[in-house]
């Protein structure tokens, strides 16, 4: 059988070690430049963590186009995952949070939307990751989606593996995909109402019965400070 030696040489070094100095990541920067040129005005933003990871953000219209470029030009043949993010702050404030009985004074109900490292301005952001198994370069692709029940092109023609991921996103976030072969619920019963991963989906059990939260243990002298999570199972 084949051996690991046949592998291409450009494997990145241990990222954690190289994180100390400020290094310029040639590969990723080149990649970002290349894809920005290809996409033109549809390319919005990018973020590179040197030697570790790269994010790009494209417009909703160029979503499928991006996949094609990534697949064909950059040989990102490995489909990793596809998901979405709901940036809207939970309308329930901290009620749903585990920390409800452990509020520090600075924690307050947030009202403003706040986006991740590549920014954004819409409620939903689509997030996908593809990978090139040869050069071992992975890229996170994001796109802002318009509206409360957005619709976007499907990736299945390029990555057949996106099929189930898109179904999952559909049922979890209510984002539908154009031209998807089988747009039905994946996990939940068809009659399930609501989209659980939206921030405004309430966990009813929690409302009925408050979460015991972190049991704030007084530290014994000399005790390690890592045993604060024992309360998960006893309900």
């Amino acid at each position: 059988m084949s051996s690991p030696d046949t592998k291409a040489e450009e494997i990145v070094e241990d990222p954690i070690e190289s994180q100390e100095e400020l290094i310029i990541d040639e590969t990723r920067n080149a990649f970002v430049t290349s894809i920005a040129t290809d996409l033109g005005s549809d390319f919005i933003d990018s973020h590179v963590v040197p030697e570790i990871d790269v994010w790009i953000r494209v417009t909703q219209e160029a979503w499928l186009e991006t996949a094609k470029i990534l697949f064909e030009k950059h040989e990102m043949s490995f489909f990793n995952f596809l998901s979405a993010i709901d940036w809207m702050p939970s309308p329930f404030g901290r009620e749903m949070d585990a920390a409800i009985d452990n509020l520090d004074d600075e924690v307050s109900v947030e009202t403003e939307m706040e986006w991740g490292i590549t920014g954004g301005e819409k409620r939903f952001q689509l997030l996908a990751r593809v990978h090139n198994p040869v050069t071992n370069l992975g890229v996170n692709v994001k796109a802002d989606l318009e509206g409360d029940f957005p619709e976007v092109e499907t990736w299945t023609p390029v990555y057949p593996g996106a099929n189930w991921h898109e179904r999952e996103v559909m049922e979890m976030f209510g984002i539908s995909f154009k031209n998807h072969p089988n747009m039905v619920n994946l996990y939940l019963p068809t009659e399930f109402e609501g989209h659980p991963l939206r921030k405004d989906f309430p966990l009813l059990s929690r409302r009925a019965k408050p979460w015991p939260g972190i049991v704030d243990v007084e530290l014994m002298p000399g005790e390690d400070d890592d045993d604060t999570e024992e309360s998960g199972e006893e309900t």
């Binding site: 659980p196 966990l203 929690r206 199972e233």
Partner: protein, 166 residues
């Protein structure tokens, strides 16, 4: 006719029948979640070897099973199938609820898709706590069930009100 049912059997015979039920518990081979592996360990691992106790893990169809171990999380999507599994087993049948999830929802007590306890849909004879319970705990549960079967009054069992799930 069901002589067992109307309790017209002489005592020693009832005892005999109870004992034979006790030592011949065919258990349905089906696991739900994490606990299924511990159940599998109890069934298949030479260290635990549940067959010693006369629990025979042969049947793959509920039609031949006497005992079902609900081992793991029951989700709302799964619940009708679990219910049907129970329905399709022939009487007399026993249920062991294994693990926190099957008992009460366990770590998923606040999930939107998990049934909080299998006893909401089917009657349970023995609860085995743990997340997951060790195989020894399941063995303990089976032994408890066997003790219960050995001294069971079938007439009482048959004439008990059926558990209604609306």
């Amino acid at each position: 006719m069901g002589l067992v049912e109307n309790g017209k059997l002489p005592g020693p015979l009832t005892k005999l029948l109870n004992i034979s039920r006790k030592y011949s518990l065919w258990v349905y081979q089906w696991g739900l979640a994490c606990c299924a592996i511990e159940m599998g360990a109890a069934f298949a691992s030479p260290r635990y070897d549940v067959m010693r106790l006369g629990v025979i893990p042969f049947p793959a169809s509920p039609r031949q099973a006497d005992l079902v171990v609900i081992s793991g999380t029951v989700t709302d999507k799964m619940a009708p199938a679990v219910r049907r599994l129970y329905e399709q087993m022939p009487e007399p049948k026993y249920v062991i609820s294994m693990g926190s999830c099957a008992n009460c929802g366990g770590p998923y007590w606040d999930s939107y898709s998990v049934t909080k306890g299998v006893d909401q849909i089917i009657p349970v004879d023995v609860y085995v706590p743990g997340c997951p319970p060790r195989p020894e705990a399941l063995l303990e549960g089976i032994v408890l069930l066997q003790e219960r079967i050995a001294s069971e009054d079938m007439t009482d069992r048959w004439n008990r009100d059926p558990i209604v799930v609306t």
